[in-house]
């Protein structure tokens, strides 16, 4: 069976690599980009994906703006938004992106990431659990 495809976006190279490796260890087929523009580009050229995992804080355009554009364009891929920010408005802004979007606050461990990924891909025809 084809593994579920996940696109990870983070401008911090170490975090990008760590999240990518963690998701790969859970059985996902991982693509990584380091910006919001890269995320849109990859979605257009290398999609579709079963899951997006993106940090909020990225240069030029934060991922919440990027995701709003993506949602406006009709892309309904589930999203895990990760952040170390503590702004009280963030949960509301994430919620506004739709039911298939959740917030995961840093720092998180592998179990928390696995639980979030499993929850968001539960309806996917090729979730990570099927790979084991």
């Amino acid at each position: 069976m084809v593994p579920a495809r996940v696109l990870v976006a983070d401008d911090d190279a170490d975090m990008l690599a760590a999240v990518g490796d963690a998701l790969a260890s859970l059985g996902f087929d991982v693509r990584s980009v380091d910006s919001g523009a890269g995320l849109i580009d990859c979605l257009a050229t290398d999609g579709p994906f079963d899951l997006l995992v993106t940090d909020i804080s990225m240069p030029w355009m934060d991922s919440l703006k990027t995701l709003r554009s993506i949602r406006t364009a009709g892309v309904t891929t589930p999203v895990i938004v990760i952040t170390a920010l503590t702004d009280a408005q963030i949960p509301n802004r994430v919620q506004a992106l739709g039911a298939n979007t959740i917030l995961l606050r840093k720092p998180f461990d592998l179990d928390e990431l696995a639980a979030a990924a499993q929850r968001m891909t539960a309806g996917s025809p090729a979730g990570p659990e099927q790979q084991r």
Partner: protein, 605 residues
């Protein structure tokens, strides 16, 4: 009626409050009029003295007037305004629950003029007694020195407070001096947020007391009512905080230059400020109607405002954040004679606060990033093939990074609490279920926790599940940490006084009584915790208190050698307990017989 947050019981050595024969040069000069410099030098205060009315009189060979003579020539109302202003300033600037200032009098009635803030009018009437120079009050008069203690009840000179008087823990009192002796005192009780008064608070109180001294010293000798008014204007005019005084009809008696410097308002025909033209708003932007200004609320409803933030329109039309306090001016008979409002421009403070909040947020954000990477990498490593030694090392890294993550989260929460930005999202939740879940998740300790909860009803509260879990988990981990290894921690949930009431008890070493009032302070560490090497920032209980308060609840602790240490937390119930139909579909930890008899007898559940 004048009241005093002081002992008034058994008579003791009377304080030499009257200073009629004192020929000593004024110990404290005209702080405001002559530009006194107050400088901290290792806890002492140096004052540069200027010429005083008393000294000028003495130089002319005249006997300087006594404090009683000075006051007899000064309108008592004006003197009361000065004392009320200074008490209000002390309460607002130092941050105390209670503040009072009194002057004049004799050995049996030390305070002919007494002004106080912080005790509701009804309670004042219930106390119904004027202060006397006994106990600590006598000590201040006798020894002419400041008293600053973290728990006044432990002081050798402490006498019991009169019935109905609010309890006092932390306490600070400084003499108001006149011609070298003691003419009265400025006292503060209960530092806000349960803390103790600091050396800086003491310096501030001494400076404020010196303002009173300066005011007395500059009081007119024989100039009648008009002179008294002029004196009042001069005294208030030189205060750095904005001051507005209204009479019993709401007409402005006087204001000062500081007030006009940061507030745009029109003046009436007689040159006095028209309070109806003050444009004051709440921080939310909601404009206050003229009769809702704090000074008017103080006058109409005797409402006390303590250091609340408002925004006024400045002379250049820019918003100016102010910390405003207001209080009614009461005569000795308890009649409202007017009101005073004090405004402190906090533009600079707010600006610094914003910078600090941004800094904290940036630091927390930047620290979380590497913590996330190490957390993920260590959990990935633990899933790989490792030797026993490698596994130990990686687990140690994982534990340490979890600990660091918790500390960063605590620092961030403390910062949010301090700046009043911590938000909770309230929803109806089953407190018993939440407690059970948290106990189950308490690492390595759930087997040592015995839980008693109502088995026939669910207690619902409105709470933020994540934040309540944080509170309970903190109390449980503390209880387990400080309990002897072979003992249990007992968790009780019940209803008391119409509130959901959680009690978490261990039988470890009791917390010393002198430390108990301070364990909820920021960075508080008990001596035992410090000596035992238990690590931590001392923020857990501070955050717990802030979170409980955000849920409109209360948290406190009791500790003794016999009963161990119990932390109590109460929350308002969201409706009456909801009966559970048997069988109870709720996981219960080993309860060893369920609710114990003592709890049942005490009316729990």
């Amino acid at each position: 009626m004048a009241v005093l947050p002081f002992p008034v019981s058994a008579p003791s050595v009377a304080a030499p409050w009257r200073l009629g024969s004192a020929a000593q040069v004024l110990t404290t000069a005209l702080i405001l009029a002559a530009g006194v410099v107050v400088r901290s030098m290792g806890g002492s205060i140096e004052r540069r003295r200027g010429p005083t009315a008393g000294r000028r009189q003495r130089d002319r060979g005249e006997r300087p007037p006594t404090i009683t003579e000075v006051l007899s020539q000064t309108s008592a109302g004006c003197a009361r305004v000065v004392l009320q202003t200074i008490a209000l300033q002390a309460q607002s600037l130092i941050g105390s629950e209670l503040a009072a200032a009194g002057i004049d009098g004799d050995a049996t009635h030390p305070f002919s003029i007494w002004a106080h803030v912080g005790i509701p009018p009804g309670q004042v009437e219930q106390i119904g007694r004027a202060p006397r120079a006994v106990g600590l009050l006598a000590l201040i008069g006798r020894e002419n020195r400041t008293v600053r203690v973290r728990d006044v009840r432990q002081h050798a000179d402490y006498r019991a407070l009169p019935p109905h008087h609010p309890p006092i823990t932390s306490f600070l009192a400084v003499p108001i001096r006149f011609r070298g002796g003691v003419a009265g005192c400025l006292c503060l009780g209960n530092k806000q947020a349960g803390g103790e008064f600091t050396v800086e608070d003491q310096q501030m109180a001494e400076m404020l007391a010196a303002r009173a001294t300066g005011a007395l010293d500059s009081a007119p000798a024989n100039e009648g009512k008009a002179g008294a008014r002029q004196w009042l204007r001069a005294v208030l005019g030189q205060m750095p905080e904005g001051v507005l005084v209204v009479d019993r009809h709401g007409e402005v008696v006087t204001d000062n230059d500081a007030l006009r410097s940061f507030m745009r308002a029109k003046t009436s025909g007689n040159g006095r400020l028209d309070p109806r033209t003050i444009e004051m708003s709440r921080p939310s932007g909601e404009r206050l109607p003229p009769d809702e200004l704090p000074v008017m609320r103080a006058l109409k409803d005797r409402e006390l405002t303590v250091a609340r933030e408002f925004v006024v329109c400045g002379p250049d039309n820019r918003p100016v954040p102010l910390l405003v306090s207001a209080a009614p001016i009461l005569t000795n008979a308890g009649l409202c004679d007017g009101a005073v409002m004090i405004c402190q421009d906090v533009s600079t403070v707010r600006s610094l606060q914003r910078v600090r909040e941004e800094w904290t947020s940036i630091v927390a954000h930047e620290l979380r990033q590497p913590i996330s990477v190490v957390t993920l990498r260590s959990s990935l490593l633990l899933r790989s093939q490792l030797s026993s030694e490698q596994r130990d090392s990686v687990e140690q890294i994982a534990r340490s990074i979890r600990s660091l993550g918790r500390m960063v989260a605590d620092l961030m929460d403390a910062s949010l609490l301090e700046s009043d930005r911590l938000r909770v999202t309230l929803a109806r939740l089953d407190l018993g279920q939440l407690l059970t879940d948290v106990v189950q998740r308490t690492p390595l300790a759930s087997s040592r926790i015995r839980m008693h909860a109502p088995e026939d009803a669910c207690l619902f509260v409105r709470g933020d599940a994540q934040r309540l879990e944080q509170v309970i988990a903190n109390l449980l981990s503390n209880a387990v940490k400080y309990a002897p290894p072979d003992t249990d921690v007992v968790v009780d949930l019940g209803v008391a006084a119409g509130q959901a009431h959680i009690r978490i008890t261990n039988v470890g070493e009791p917390i010393p009584q002198d430390e108990l009032p301070f364990i909820f302070n920021r960075f508080a560490r008990t001596r035992a915790a410090g000596a035992s090497g238990v690590t931590g920032l001392g923020l857990g209980l501070y955050i717990a208190r802030g979170l409980v308060s955000a849920h409109h609840g209360r948290i406190w602790a009791e500790s003794g050698a016999t009963d161990g240490t119990t932390f109590h937390v109460t929350f308002p119930l969201d409706g009456p307990p909801v009966p559970i139909e048997p069988p109870v579909d709720r996981m219960r930890l080993p309860t060893q017989g369920g609710r114990d008899d003592a709890s049942a007898a005490a009316g729990w559940s």
